[in-house]
């Protein structure tokens, strides 16, 4: 296989602590190697450019049923908003806030990303998720099945049967070829089966009579019992409401006393996602205010927690979440069209279009809250860039988010467009923050940190020999950073080079090849558990609408798998 040498770039690799040193990176047979191991490499001249590992997205809704509902029911998301097909890509690219699978793969690659973790897979729909993964080019995908409202999980945890819940979890990861434990509005989406919700973490779930708090701790215990690569990944209760920061703090406190147990270098027991939506003070939309300081003070002081931003990008977008009751609530706020899919025994989902406008005070406060979270963070290896794509904005706006974080001037520029600038400044701290992040910190937030939190930092997110040769080169000179923030955004939108698995995939911002992508899943060995086997059999016999033998993903529907094996059988 071919050899490559990326010469003379400024290398940022937080996993090795490399901070912009001028270095050469060697690539052989799809892996990073010492440059001395190369015989006759092709050379990529990266002089005056920034070299990072391929980007890793810890939380993005890119494949699966609710994403596809978002595509299907919004033709207006395509009209006049889709680019014409690139002559160098094999397929058309349609859509904007919810792009087609092809556009998703191409756009991530253009931004220098190589790994995207689908944030919520309804287990019943796993064949659909894997079909879409097949049609998403270039980027490697994992998908997390949702557990927080699953009847098996609720029953086991109510009875404190962690071992049984672990055996069920291992079975479900296998059945769906899933990656880790996702929890969305624990208990609340089950309550939504009756049109209800669990707003606070001590509200009992109807019939199942367990609290969201216990679901969260039980799933942390399950996760550490199994020793999975990633931690329990939580979307907290009471998303998006004024005053919810107290509920968020209560949820964060649930991680106290738990320590990670795994062989993957992961150091957290709880990943709290799209924190921006969970950091509001006040008690109404009239007096909503930022509480990001309170939240980040807690996160900074507790290193068994990681978070991602969920940054509002001030775009028209499509919200979609397994938090069914929230979407119903949102539909009453903006009165736009509303799709809902409750999934038997497992979860729910809702989809509502949403316009984050710089003319609306709440939206601009949300914008400030997201940025504050990152700017208040003391450890950017535990604070990641996301937009909860497409909920707070499409992932294609990451370069803009990076620019806001790197440049006070860029933030000021955006704030000038706010209709309620004074009220926004009053209700947030954004105007008093001068911090500007550097490229090393951006590399922490977009590759090294997420890879470590996902437990895959032996393959992704770094540039050490032996790791996958996934390398992004950005046309940015750290010794001569552009004074115009727009230039930073442009550089991160279209990388100069992306090498994926040792293959030149993007060049001058254009996709030039489409190397085979992978599906990453976690296979956990657990001791045989007759009770769980019987429970599975019973529920499928009586309550599911599909047969047990047709539920588990057939091998032929899993595409180019890369399995991470975990032995929890001892």
């Amino acid at each position: 296989m071919s050899e490559l040498l990326i010469k003379n770039g400024f290398v940022f690799d937080p996993l090795q602590g490399i901070k912009g040193d001028r270095m050469d990176i060697g690539i052989k047979d799809g892996k990073i190697v010492e440059t001395s191991a190369l015989e006759n490499p092709k050379t990529i001249d990266a002089a005056g450019m920034t070299v990072m590992a391929g980007g890793v997205d810890i939380h993005s809704h890119v494949v699966g049923p609710k994403v596809n509902v978002g595509r299907l029911f919004r033709p207006e998301d395509k009209l006049f908003k889709s680019p014409h097909k690139s002559p160098t890509c094999s397929r058309m690219e349609m859509g904007s806030s919810v792009p087609s699978t092809f556009k998703t793969g191409y756009d991530y690659a253009r931004m220098g990303y190589v790994f995207v973790n689908e944030a919520a897979m309804p287990p019943l729909h796993s064949p659909h998720v894997h079909e879409e993964i097949r049609d998403t080019p270039i980027i490697d995908n994992a998908a997390m099945p949702v557990f927080g409202n699953n009847w098996f999980t609720l029953e086991y945890l109510k009875n404190n049967e962690i071992e049984n819940n672990a055996a069920y979890t291992a079975w479900l990861l296998q059945a769906t070829r899933g990656f880790g434990i996702k929890v969305v509005n624990p208990g609340g989406s089950e309550a939504w089966g009756w049109g209800l919700n669990c707003v606070h973490i001590h509200d009992p779930v109807p019939y199942f009579d367990i609290t969201p708090a216990r679901i969260i701790t039980g799933l942390i215990e399950t996760n550490e019992h199994l020793g999975l690569p990633h931690s329990m990944h939580l979307h907290c209760n009471n998303l998006g409401n004024p005053g919810n920061y107290t509920d968020t703090l209560e949820s964060l406190r649930l991680a106290e006393g738990y320590t990670p147990k795994n062989n993957f270098g992961r150091e957290q027991v709880m990943h709290v996602t799209h924190l921006q939506f969970h950091a509001y003070g006040g008690d109404s939309w009239g007096n909503v205010e930022s509480r990001s300081k309170d939240i980040m003070d807690y996160v900074n002081a507790h290193d068994n927690i990681t978070v991602d931003m969920g940054q509002v990008t001030l775009d028209e977008t499509t919200t979609m979440t397994a938090d069914g009751p929230f979407e119903h609530h949102l539909r009453a706020l903006n009165n736009l069209k509303w799709a809902n899919v409750d999934v038997e025994l497992e979860t729910a989902a809702g989809v509502v279009p949403y316009i984050y406008s710089p003319k609306v005070k709440v939206c601009t406060i949300q914008w400030a809250v997201g940025l504050e979270l990152a700017l208040f963070s003391k450890d950017l290896m535990r604070t990641f860039i996301t937009t909860d794509h497409p909920n707070a904005g499409p992932f294609t706006r990451y370069p803009q988010v990076i620019t806001w974080l790197m440049s006070r001037a860029a933030r000021d520029e955006t704030m000038k467009t706010f209709k309620w600038l004074d009220r926004t400044i009053e209700s947030t701290s954004i105007d008093s923050i001068d911090r500007e992040l550097d490229l090393y910190e951006i590399a922490q937030m977009t590759r090294a940190g997420p890879a470590k939190a996902l437990g895959i930092s032996d393959m992704y997110g770094g540039l050490a020999p032996g790791m996958d040769a996934d390398i992004a080169v950005y046309p940015l000179n750290p010794e001569d950073m552009p004074s115009d923030p727009a230039a930073i955004e442009k550089a991160f939108s279209r990388c100069a080079w992306l090498v994926k698995d040792g293959i030149v995939t993007v060049r001058d911002g254009e996709v030039v090849s489409e190397p085979a992508k992978r599906t990453i899943w976690v296979d956990v060995k657990v001791p045989e558990n007759a009770q769980v086997q019987r429970d599975i059999y019973e529920h499928f016999l009586r309550h599911y609408s599909v047969k047990l033998d047709n539920y588990s993903l057939f091998e032929e529907h899993l595409h180019n798998p890369r399995v991470i094996e975990v032995n929890a059988a001892q």
Binding site: M92, S126, A339, V351, P515, S545
Partner: protein, 456 residues
């Protein structure tokens, strides 16, 4: 020894029963018995090995007869037709798997074709309503486990979806519905007293074509407004009584059929049905679901939405951007305006379903039918390419009416030499690429950038 294959999915209707047990003869060549299927599903399996099948593609001759040709020749013919056509139409897909739909999309994109599915003449009006108003729905197991009120509106599952009522809605005992039928109220709204109406607790004989008004009346009552003495042929007292049942339900599902989306009002009927569902969610839990017809007619809507963002009526003729505008890019309208200069009928029977004038226009141009069986379309085609029957001879993923993917199995081998829809389209795609390359070789254009078209 005969062999039993279990957990087999049924390639008939949108109910997608996946509990069939099929007994296959010793030599694996004959289907002997089909358990659990309805009469129609049963017939599909028996038909596969019960009589003569078309085993080779057939090409129309100048004298009007068909002549057997090889698959290679058929693929070449089809690719050339697509390559030469300015605006070919590829239509159908109700009865094939998603793998076939994805492969067909690749062909359509390469050929610059219009890509459409049977929703165009069926639940397409539902899509229009969904574009405007959303779709508060659920999976069928939710209905089974929770629903205490069921509404069938303009649908007759007793005939069209024979096991729908017993598997999901009226009769099954679910987790919170242990008493089955006894714990549920069944409301049927239909201008005809159908066999489904026979099992209703309340039957509302809506005046034909006045569904919209009746929905409107329900919405008014649910929101606490007055209504006239009679609306759409139904007395006020009965409307108030039913509205009260809807509001007091723990969990309800409205199943609606073509009676709604293809009677006067069409998408507006569906739109207001969705609005009623939205309204009811302010009081309790309600969901709505289209009774999709064929077992995988939900499939193309799913596959093409993730590939292009549109569920049907996709105009890919510009080759670099997709465009959807039902009425402009829908199959019947294109055919009626004689805008199509080649036609591929796949996994359906446009010969039987299209208006005769549309068929006459399409028939002026090359017409290719890809179907396992002899049907009206195959008999008026220029080329008929036989394929294996999905769910019987070809496995694959299909989407049930509630968008749940069901993995279908293969029970027996297709007749010797017969290939799948997916393979037909993959081979047409390959041939199209060759034709394109030949053209380029004749007239060299600027070289393609390095690394382009890996795997083509």
């Amino acid at each position: 020894m005969s062999k039993k294959v279990e957990n087999v999915g049924c390639p008939y209707c949108g109910v997608c029963c996946d509990d069939l047990v099929v007994t296959v003869s010793d030599d694996g060549k004959k289907i002997l018995e089909v358990e659990n299927a309805c009469a129609i599903g049963n017939q599909i399996f028996h038909h596969a090995t019960g009589g003569e099948r078309v085993r080779l593609p057939r090409l129309r001759q100048p004298d009007g007869t068909y002549k057997d040709i090889s698959y290679d020749e058929a693929i070449d013919y089809a690719a050339n037709v697509l390559y030469k056509a300015k605006k070919p139409l590829i239509y159908g897909f109700g009865s094939t798997n998603c793998e076939g739909m994805a492969a067909a999309a690749k062909v359509a994109e390469k050929a610059g074709a219009v890509l459409d599915n049977c929703a165009s003449i069926c639940h397409g009006s539902s899509f229009l309503a969904i574009f405007d108003n959303g779709y508060p729905s659920c999976t069928l197991g939710e209905t089974k486990n929770r629903a205490d009120v069921i509404v069938y509106w303009g649908a007759n599952p007793a005939h069209a979806h024979p096991r729908h009522m017993s598997r999901y809605s009226i009769f099954p005992r679910g987790f919170f519905t242990g008493k089955g039928h006894k714990s549920r109220k069944i409301i049927v709204v239909d201008p005809r007293h159908t066999d489904t109406a026979q099992v209703a607790d309340i039957y509302l004989q809506v005046q034909q074509g006045h569904d919209y008004e009746l929905f409107d009346a329900f919405r008014a009552v649910v929101r606490g407004h007055e209504i006239p003495d009679v609306v759409a042929g139904i007395r006020r007292e009965q409307i108030v009584e039913v509205a009260d049942i809807l509001k007091k339900a723990r969990f309800g599902t409205i199943f609606y059929g073509m009676g709604l989306c293809h009677s006067d009002g069409r998408n507006h009927n569906v739109d207001i049905a969705i609005s009623l569902t939205r309204d009811l969610n302010d009081f309790t839990k309600w969901t709505i679901m289209a009774m999709r017809g064929h077992y995988n007619i939900t499939g193309p809507g799913a596959v093409w939405s993730w590939q292009y963002g549109y569920p049907y009526c996709l105009d890919l003729t510009k080759r670099d951007i997709a465009h959807m505008n039902p009425g402009e890019t829908s199959s019947i309208d294109l055919a009626m305006r004689d805008e199509v200069d080649a036609f591929i009928n796949i996994g359906t029977d446009a010969g039987a379903h299209f208006p005769i004038d549309a068929v006459k226009h399409l028939r002026k141009h090359p017409w290719i039918t890809i179907d396992p069986n002899i049907c009206m379309a195959s008999e008026i085609s220029d080329l008929h390419i036989p394929v294996g029957i999905v769910g019987v001879e070809v496995p694959g993923i299909v989407y049930r009416m509630d968008n749940v993917p069901i993995q279908y199995r293969k029970v027996i081998d297709p007749p010797e030499g017969v290939i799948s829809d997916e393979e037909v389209f993959e081979r047409i795609h390959k041939r199209l690429c060759e034709l394109e390359a030949e053209e380029v070789a004749k007239e060299p254009v600027k070289a393609a950038p390095e690394g382009v078209r890996v795997g083509e």
